[in-house]
């Protein structure tokens, strides 16, 4: 009853103040634009608008920031699909199947899948936020270091199945990612590790330059090596964003539901965020698929899984923010600034003292997800026109845009070095049939896995058995072990079949 009254009151407020609608519209478009430019990201989009919220009232300010967050989470998939350049970290997974689908001449369809999945995931996450914020936040508190460690391992072990003939190469790529994540200061002891005396590397390998280098730069190098005829064929492509039919959406219902649930739950966990949600959503889609070998070739599930997961994580990450005052992601951490400017302290009392604010945010996020569909189509179509420009002009432009965007992040030239080095390394890995996705997953989940394991060991008197036998952690680790064994067995079986076909002389 209280919920219904709260909603009615919030709706009345929104309808009586048309400025809120304008702010929602502006925020969604701003978010999509920031999301689709590599290096800019939703965090920058939110941070740039925070000073402007000073001139607005708290509800208006939070509506606008929430819309930016929603829009930017989808926006990254536009450049991910069209140019293999994730505009935001949470779109890194979308490149894996989005770009191959675009190369098959189905860029519009790929963007349509991304847009629908984002909207469905976003609406799911927001509805869960509305209905289940308090119990979900209590459940999140039950997640301790062993559970976080097991969650990271769950995401990493799925890499064994991702797009390669060799499970060992997949695992090694993931291990390289985990290894790169250890460069910099040890999060527990503050020891410098593997920086070889360089002060610039003390902050570690920053994630955004790494993914831009591994995806965008290596792709430009690869395309530069193509024949001029191959480049000219692509220049004729048209992008007509086409939303999937209801039938096509229905065929993907399991993937959508699973990824939305995963994304919402991971979004609720403090400090994890949409990027991790996207990767785990994708890796679970691979794990449970009847045809995991097709992932990476341009299948709809490969787009729908990460996009619904990352957008549902947006709603999920608002749960700890609004109910406990703990940011669920980096973007919500920045949004706290928007609340603080108005003297509002997020936490358990927020829902009691500022009900109008909370329910307005709920409605605003629902509306932003719907607006995203309309404006996402328009913006994607405009971006798609870039495909008509010859690649000889687009390729160097992408490099310039990436360098500029990466520099703008922290004004740190080391980020450019990281981007260049990993760009060349990514190119080499692809030529040697090492998949890039596991490396990215390792880089994202490595810090979570390490810190959680070490904390869990400390809390359990260095008894690893006690760590892995926590109920939730134990179940997740068991699933991880089984999927790894299954992946290795599958490879062994394929090799045996090949040997049978060609018997020894």
């Amino acid at each position: 009853m209280e919920l219904i009254q709260g909603f009615i009151s919030a709706f009345q407020y929104l309808f009586n103040h048309p400025l809120n609608w304008l702010l929602l519209l502006f925020g969604t478009i701003w978010g999509i634009l920031f999301g689709c430019v590599p290096g800019l990201t939703g965090i920058v989009g939110v941070a740039l608008l925070i000073p402007f919220t000073f001139t607005l009232n708290p509800i208006e300010g939070l509506l606008m920031l929430g819309a930016v967050y929603v829009g930017s989470t989808f926006g990254g998939s536009i450049s991910a699909i069209l140019f293999n350049t994730p505009g935001a970290p949470e779109a890194a997974c979308t490149t894996l199947d989005g770009y191959p689908m675009a190369k098959k001449g189905q860029a519009g369809k790929a963007i349509g899948y991304a847009l629908s999945a984002s909207a469905i995931g976003g609406l799911f996450g927001t509805i869960v936020l509305i209905l289940l914020a308090p119990p979900l936040s209590e459940m999140a508190l039950a997640f301790g270091p062993p559970e976080y460690f097991a969650l990271a391992i769950l995401g990493i072990t799925a890499i064994a199945s991702i797009g390669t003939k060799s499970v060992f190469k997949s695992l090694l790529s993931g291990m390289i990612g985990l290894g790169l994540a250890t460069v910099g200061m040890d999060p527990l002891t503050s020891n410098a590790r593997f920086n070889f005396g360089s002060k610039l590397l003390l902050t570690g390998i920053s994630f955004i330059p790494a993914i831009i280098g591994l995806f965008a730069l290596s792709e430009v190098l690869k395309r530069s090596g193509e024949s001029l005829r191959a480049m000219a064929v692509d220049a004729g492509s048209k992008v007509l964003t086409k939303l999937p039919s209801l039938r096509e959406i229905w065929d993907l219902k399991i993937t959508l539901l699973r990824s939305s649930i995963i994304g919402t739950f991971i979004g609720v966990l403090p400090g994890v965020g949409a990027t991790t949600a996207a990767f785990i959503g994708y890796s679970e889609a691979v794990r449970w698929s009847k045809h995991p070998e097709k992932f990476g070739t341009g299948v709809p599930e490969g787009i729908v899984a990460p996009e619904s997961a990352n957008n549902s994580a947006v709603g999920g990450s608002m749960v700890p923010l609004l109910s406990m005052g703990i940011p669920g992601s980096a973007t919500t951490a920045v949004m706290i600034g928007g609340l603080t400017i108005h003297g509002i302290i997020p936490g358990p009392m927020l829902m009691v003292q500022n009900q109008d604010l909370v329910y307005s945010v709920f409605i605003g996020m629902l509306i932003a997800n719907v607006l995203m569909i309309f404006f996402g189509i328009k913006i994607a179509s405009q971006f798609g026109k870039i495909l008509k420009i010859p690649y000889v002009l687009v390729g160097p432009s992408i490099i310039v845009l990436c360098m500029t965007g990466v520099f703008a992040l922290r004004n740190n030239m080391m980020d450019l070095v990281v981007m260049l080095a990993l760009g060349g390394f990514g190119y080499l890995l692809q030529e040697l049939d090492y998949p890039i996705a596991p490396l990215i997953i390792g880089l994202v989940l490595g810090p979570i896995a390490e810190v959680s394991l070490r904390r869990a060991m400390i809390l359990n008197n260095f008894d690893i058995i006690a760590v892995v036998t926590h109920p939730i952690a134990g179940v997740m680790l068991l699933i991880s072990a089984l999927s790894l064994i299954y992946g290795l067995y599958g490879q062994y079986r394929r090799q045996r079949e090949r040997k049978k076909i060609s018997p020894a002389p």
């Binding site: 390289i176 593997f194 049939d433």
Partner: protein, 172 residues
């Protein structure tokens, strides 16, 4: 053949690198408080796994060569050359060198000069663009991007050093 050799060299390099970094990790300072889970705990797990995996891949490559020999009964072809032919390697290498040069150019000459020169050279290296597009597009793109970042978003761009810094300051 080239690809297979590069693959073998890469795998050996990963193995040797893992072993080397293991000894580097061994020399990290120790903290009594974190006695069994010190700074080297996690890196050593990763490095040991990498070393084992690289040996497994080495074995896989050797097994693949033997299987290929059995199938074709021909002299060993140490790689799938289909992916190697048709790639303009000189262009790829030149683009890689240009990217590195662009990084240095940003530091020395600032964004505007470095970007225009980089784009002109990159277009020549990749090839296939019309003359007017090759000359005009980099100018428009660079100015447009500088305006968006500096005036629109108020984010700073590299200014360069010495005279070039003064020149950049005229614009942003």
């Amino acid at each position: 053949m080239v690809k297979r050799i590069v693959d073998l060299v890469f795998t050996v390099a990963v193995f040797v690198g893992s072993v080397y970094l293991w000894f580097v990790a061994d020399r990290f300072p120790e903290f009594l408080k974190y006695k069994n889970v010190d700074s080297d705990f996690w890196p050593k797990i990763i490095l040991a796994t990498m070393a084992i995996l690289s040996l497994c891949i080495l074995y896989e490559n050797i097994a693949a060569v033997r299987l290929q020999r059995r199938e074709t009964k021909a002299p060993v072809s140490l790689g799938d050359d289909r992916s190697v032919s048709g790639v303009r390697w000189k262009t790829v290498i030149a683009m890689g060198v240009l990217c590195i040069a662009y990084y240095w150019g940003l530091n020395l000459f600032g964004f505007i000069i470095a970007t225009i020169v980089f784009m002109w050279l990159a277009i020549v290296v990749i090839g296939g663009a019309g003359k007017w597009a090759a000359v005009v597009f980099p100018l428009i793109f660079t100015v447009g991007l500088a305006l968006i970042f500096v005036k629109g978003l108020e984010l700073s761009l590299p200014r360069g050093v010495w005279l070039f810094r003064d020149l950049s300051l005229l614009f942003y």
